[in-house]
Symmetry: C2
Subunit: 436 residues, 2 copies
Amino acid sequence: MSVHEHKKLLEELGVDVERHAKMMEMGYEGYKNQFMSQTNRPKAMEYFDWFMSEVQGQRIAEINELRKNKKPAIGAFCIFVPEELIVGAGGACFGLCGGSPATIADAETELPRNICPLIKSAYGFKLQKTCAYTQSADFIYGETTCEAKKKTWELLNKHHPVKVMNIPHMKREKDLKMWKEELSEFKEHMEEITKKPLTFEEMKNGVKIVNEKRLALQRLDELRSMNGSDVIPISAKDALFITQISFLDDPVRFTQKLNELCDELEQRVKENNSVYKKDTPRLMVLGTPFALPNWKLHTAVETSGGAIVNEESCIGHRYYKDNVNMEEIKDEDSLMEKLLQKYSSVDCACFTPNTPRIDKILKMYKDRKLDGVIYYSLSFCHTYNVEAKLVTDALEKENIPCLVIESDYSPEDAGQIKTRVEAFLESINFKNMKKN
Amino acid sequence: MSVHEHKKLLEELGVDVERHAKMMEMGYEGYKNQFMSQTNRPKAMEYFDWFMSEVQGQRIAEINELRKNKKPAIGAFCIFVPEELIVGAGGACFGLCGGSPATIADAETELPRNICPLIKSAYGFKLQKTCAYTQSADFIYGETTCEAKKKTWELLNKHHPVKVMNIPHMKREKDLKMWKEELSEFKEHMEEITKKPLTFEEMKNGVKIVNEKRLALQRLDELRSMNGSDVIPISAKDALFITQISFLDDPVRFTQKLNELCDELEQRVKENNSVYKKDTPRLMVLGTPFALPNWKLHTAVETSGGAIVNEESCIGHRYYKDNVNMEEIKDEDSLMEKLLQKYSSVDCACFTPNTPRIDKILKMYKDRKLDGVIYYSLSFCHTYNVEAKLVTDALEKENIPCLVIESDYSPEDAGQIKTRVEAFLESINFKNMKKN
């Protein structure tokens, strides 16, 4: 862990360096125990292990080096933030810390207890000043996808600059028109930081870089679950971790390193080298995001004899499934139009209706030759929680096994989740046995 | 109770008549015990007592008589539904049942447990078919003010026709422009029922009738708490009940009967006839709606020696505080503009930011010479729950005593609420004693 080497910078950022160092050390210990102890890991995971050791060290130094050169550093909580524009401006877009229970008690001094743990965790990191990403953000870019976040921005704004993007909850033509205006407004907010206009060429370059990152993540998805064999060449936890850090790392380096890993995974598929035993049930997780270091569900499944081969999650497939069509970009307006097309393809449960999500889930299930799905919802996330009924009804019609889990970040229910996952896997194994 | 007399009609509406009759009898027993046992009640409460006995009897017959004559009957869950247009068309706009715990277990077969009890209760009434209002609605007019409702419409639509009004969450000029379009769309939905265009004169007449209803409710508010004396001429429960049935009764009759009551209350003020002892602490309740028969908080306060003289609630002041400016109505467009002005003055916590609400609360506190406020939030109502922090911070700055209560409909926490209310009132009495 290199946070100590960057003590001076962290202090300048207002980080509570002692508390931060302790938390990071504990986090890294957790990572080593849960990740580096895995057997038969791809060699190219070394880079990602290194990144974890530098997640609040060198990466923070890199981001602040950009800031020194008047490049924007924008913190986000949602996949609706047009990172293409930030990357185009030569800046850094990063997901803010929000996956740890360690900050929730602090947040609950100002926020209600019964809202989503992700929001509380993130808010607590700001109050504690123990997230160097939050401290490095020129502004936090909030959005209106869920009401607890929407209202929390009003409070968070008292502690850190926050700008809000108004994401509509329907996708009628007039809603999309307003959404496009929000994209342009975002560009203006960023230009206030950089003090110069973002050019069309820069924007196009940003789209290109982020498209390549998404392509690499799509490649990883394909290698995990659609590689023409039943080999699963990488563990669920490793794949999830890679997706988690896709929100933090420099996109060009990340893409290169992920493609190197994918090359190795391709080789593994050819060599029939799976990290799971033959006939391990193949699962997909549906629902809400897994913010770093929320690995609870993946740990429960992997220690119970199951394999997760896809996360239909905001930190997962929902994030990387669509690319921006570059061929039709002629000028700034068409670029914004194509960005809008990409972002409005996100099937967040905040939309009403959100029926394309259900068709997508059924298709994903078939394409990946799965054995079952887990619908995972963060506690008190009303939109995904209510939509669960529509999804599970559709799954039931197709006789697809589904386990619904709602959980916060507390370690208390880990045992209960594991028990439920074990029973679920047993029922799948029994079903598969009868089939064969 | 007259539900038995209307058995045939109720059956035709698809009501589960036996279960319905039992529930209504229990509800009426509860009303008799809690309301009709009060001493020194205004004589004009007789009408409202009668209404309660006919709430799911004669009133349902009246609504269905209108329907026979092709008049619209629209069920609503929110004060954003432009009832002026429904009343103008000669139809009935009514709040749907949603204040009882008796239907929640049924709702939880399809909805998550941890969403607002109002939504679950209302959904359960539909599943049980034990609300004759729901059964009488040509369609239910949902809106997007809260995400649990927004997503529940997708499920409810499988059981009853639902149309959705997209209420924006900001009040920028472009948001208001879209909102105005929603008002026009609503008119079109209604014309689909009536099969004829709603005329400008009809619309204006609807505005006039509903304005008069709101004026009568404003008069009641003034007589409760701004009558120039410390006399409180009507109990909190009676006043709340009147507001609750303002969502159900025929507006012309209701207005007439409420004005008769107000005449009597005026007389009481002159005669120094208060229903509370001298120096009873005067409280205001802030927050979320009290749907019939949710009287839990009012009962707790009144049996603990306190008086509630205003509900800053959707079933309360937020509903009747603004009237539609008729003087500036020249044509349909200006009518819609004035309707928009009225509805966009609603300071629901769904808006971001919603700062005018705080200034209003401070003004209401002073105008009514209050001793304290109770911030009441239905469980899992994220918007009001998060906004509570902003409100209580503002109250604290002004040294205004505030008690925050979050509760669902279960009777289980009634004792705990009473204990907290008692302690709160004691602290207010102590403060007042020191002041004198």
